[in-house]
Symmetry: C2
Subunit: 239 residues, 2 copies
Amino acid sequence: MENTKLGHHISQQFEEELQDIRTRVMTMGGLVEKQLSDALMALSDMNSELAEVVVTNDYKINALEVSIDEECTQILARRQPTASDLRLVIAVIKTITDLERIGDEAERVARMALHFAEAGGDRKMLVGILHLGELVRGMLHGALDAFARMDTEAAINVAREDPKADREYESILRELITYMMEDPRAIPNVVNIMWSARALERIGDRARNICEYVIYLVKGKDVRHTSLDKVESEARNRK
Amino acid sequence: MENTKLGHHISQQFEEELQDIRTRVMTMGGLVEKQLSDALMALSDMNSELAEVVVTNDYKINALEVSIDEECTQILARRQPTASDLRLVIAVIKTITDLERIGDEAERVARMALHFAEAGGDRKMLVGILHLGELVRGMLHGALDAFARMDTEAAINVAREDPKADREYESILRELITYMMEDPRAIPNVVNIMWSARALERIGDRARNICEYVIYLVKGKDVRHTSLDKVESEARNRK
């Protein structure tokens, strides 16, 4: 399987191409992170202008996805990579899909920030989701960092945060349902916040997906649909 | 680009492998369709037993995804496909990701059916989402059919249904918000139905994704993030 080791390519240009897609994934990841933190800031400051910027910028992420995807297909067709090079290309194709969808979720949060600012919603309803937002932003950052350094330990630590995000999300839901029952006039506003909470929870799931691709990339094992303990033992195994 | 034409492979075995992953995608698609229709039936008949079956069966879809994915990676590594063969493998990798997520959404609907049956919810709240359910089930069926026949016209027709699903979803949301405002005690139940409505709307999005992969596969053009009219003109262009 491992005839071709990273760093021993016959073709210098091929290595540059592989490095290039890695760099472009990081660029895309940085953009997505910025979109998410701007969406959260727009929400917390009720800043409609910033929310509009996030909505407008989503096309940049979509364009990057299509372009990196195309580059990956070209590499597969021209270079016909095997072993770890092939895994890198496949991991990149999957990672950019998740990054693009995280961008969509960030856009949803920004749209909700717009509605919330317009409707003059009660800021106390936001405490929980802003906290969840910070948690999943940290997860996304950690996942990208693990990808950049091909660090499976870091990837596992990020994946371990996901159940925490799920629990925070569940607790936010319960709280929001209470708000609605106490004040039915607030229901449309609260429903909006519920969608944002769901969007943030999904961002956590997708950050975990990226961590699983890092493990697949480095270890050659597909750890999706596997318990975290199993993932951890897989990731720690030497090949 | 098109040096290798489907049907003129030197290797008979390679062709059989490509045929095999197509067949397995259809098997997986059939299973996902069954899960979705069972989830909808469980909801409409308040049949907890059937809902449990859907929840239990999800692992089969996950296992199929991992196994087809592995087969695709093997084909990329061993056969180093180019042109339309490469596009087929990439389209399969992407399609099974969406199918797996559709399976997750069907499981969510089934879980909701369980809660709804337990809580003894009011059946009139279900009319809208059962209708949306039928619409997206038809879209999924159409998308799989377009994939099986590599039919871009059929793919476009399915993609054209997606805005209709989005409109139905929006109208269901408005209706559910009204229910909640009229009867705050029903809020927890209604919130559950909202999640199911969202799950169904997402299934429509993913069926559309599959249609876009079919167009990519047949025409070699990436039509994601493109308006439907543009997609249609791309798909109708002869190469």
